[in-house]
Amino acid sequence: MLEASALTLSYDGRPVIEALDLSLPDDKVTAIIGPNGCGKSTLLKALARILHAESGRVMLDGEDMTHIAPRALARRLAILPQSPRAPEGIRVADLVRRGRLPWRGLLSPWREEDREACEGALAAVGMAELADRDLAELSGGQRQRAWLALVLAQGTPWLLLDEPTTYLDLTHQMEVLGLLRRLNRRSGTAVVSVLHDLNLAARYSDHLVLLANGGLVAAGTPDTVLTPANLSSAFGLRAQVMPDPVTGTPMVVPLDMADREVPA
């Protein structure tokens, strides 16, 4: 269980999240959604200890995260930041190997389990064939899968991802989200992503967290979170919600906004 209690966060001196209480389930796929600037990414960074809390706590399986040593934490929880930048000229396999850093000491040799973790991660994202390629030569979708393989190789029970589908076209977005869900179903990895697209979030997640104005609007199954009332209060959006004709998950259909006044 990954929990936040009375969590207050600020970014560049500006308060973003205020006194948030939240609990994210193990063994599930969770998406954090909300309007631009609502603090989705900031929250994710705090959950991964990239950002320190102004006040309040983040707890992993009941343990205060600030009491867990960095390397021990890196063996339990991995994070993929938004649009990471790779070193020039790096090959896919070398990038993925760096996911094993938390497991290796200065002089420890490359072990069988490290090799297996990297090969398993590359296979899971369908990149085994491209392992020897230069990352820069690959398409955007392939690059994103290589980064995913890096955090998968880390072999953690928790996987946090900041907008893993940015800059990808719809096909590749679905590919990445499908992959994360398969990973969750197969190995029980808890996946927490910040996502923009509400319908994709509903389709691929078990649990949604809807944020707005620095606080929690709703959390729970997609059916309970994506309601017209919640969408109106979080996004100021008038919408109908109906079952997705393919999957039956809730689908948000915005109403015409022509009558809405443009805010000054």
Binding site: S10, G13, R75, L77, R85, P87, R91, G99, L101, L106
Partner: protein, 325 residues
């Protein structure tokens, strides 16, 4: 692997050539005789005239090259090098100040202090709350701080008597004239200790190269790691500056040159290649500077400046093309 062998071979060739060529050329036979018997002109060259100079050049080039490679990896920017970041100028200023005010501290200590103080100033001026500072901001702040340090050093030189001022001027350009075994021992001793420290940081550096956020996710405390690694790299540069002066552009060129030659990819391999390339650049530049024009011995910094300035322009145009500038 083949590239690494070629680089090592070039380094050996350049060192031998640097021992042979000079105001008085020596033949390999004379040098060999001097080496074996310890007598004759060959022994004089090895012992006094060129031996310590070449040994110092190798050591200074290696620590500068290593320092530059570390900064370029840490800040993920090929322009991040201790010369552009102003740290070398800081080390140089401290040594000139030591001469001008008669501070009784050894040159390497002064250089290390100067480099660290400038690094702290650049760090403080460029520091931004919350979000990490972009590398380019740090480089620009470093450039400005470096110019200030150089201006102060020039001012301090006016306080020196004529001959001392001329010597200081020559030293500030970067010079290997009249180096003795003491200088060589100094740069090699400090260099080896600091190199071991630097390689002990290869693991966090590997994570930091992916950016501070991902490094944190991989179990590295990003902020302390950045200061720790920078500190070692500043000291490496200072060890070079203490014996050779703030030789320009060596630290900037060595990393990319070494990586290109050897095909090194991992930070540790690139660090080794950068050190070797730095040594090669300084030995060759010194050879060029003292033997290209008959009867005229130029300081090594003039040659690295002539090599480095066009390199910097080319690198800038490449960064602009890539949209990084």
């Amino acid at each position: 692997m083949r590239g690494a062998a070629v680089l090592a071979g070039l380094l050996a060739l350049a060192s031998v050539a640097a021992l042979l060529r000079g105001q008085i050329d020596a033949s390999p036979a004379i040098l060999w005789q001097g080496l074996v018997t310890g007598e004759g002109p060959g022994a004089l060259i090895l012992d006094t005239i060129r031996g310590p100079r070449v040994a110092t050049a190798l050591g200074a080039g290696a620590v500068l090259g290593l320092s530059g490679t570390i900064f370029q990896t840490l800040f993920r920017n090929p322009l991040a090098a201790p010369d552009l970041l102003g740290f070398n100028a800081g080390a140089g200023l401290a040594i000139i100040a030591g001469i001008a005010f008669g501070i009784a501290l050894p040159a390497p200590v002064l250089a290390a202090l100067g480099g660290l103080v400038v690094a702290a100033i650049v760090g403080a001026l460029a520091w931004r709350r919350g979000s990490g500072t972009p590398a380019l901001t740090i480089i620009l702040v470093g450039l400005g701080t470096g110019f200030t340090a150089t201006a102060l050093a020039t001012f301090l030189m006016t306080l020196l008597p004529g001959t001392a001022a001329a010597e200081a001027q020559r030293w500030l350009t970067g010079s290997l004239a009249a180096r003795n075994w003491g200088h060589a021992a100094q740069v090699w001793g400090a260099g080896i200790a600091l190199t071991l420290l630097a390689f002990s940081q290869a693991r966090p550096l590997k994570a930091m190269e992916l950016g501070g956020e991902l490094a944190t996710g991989l179990g590295v405390r990003a902020e302390p790691a950045r200061w720790r690694i920078s500190g070692v790299a500043v000291l490496l540069a200072a060890a070079g500056v203490a014996v050779a002066g703030p030789v320009p552009f060596v630290a900037l060129m060595a990393g990319p040159f070494g990586a290109r030659m050897t095909g090194a990819r991992s930070p540790a391999a690139r660090m080794a290649a950068g050190a070797a390339a730095g040594a090669l650049i300084v030995v060759l530049s010194d050879l060029l500077a003292r033997s290209a024009l008959p009867g005229l011995q130029l300081p090594v910094g003039v040659a690295t400046g002539l090599l480095g300035a066009p390199y910097l322009l080319w690198r800038l145009s490449r960064e602009m093309y890539k949209g990084e500038l």
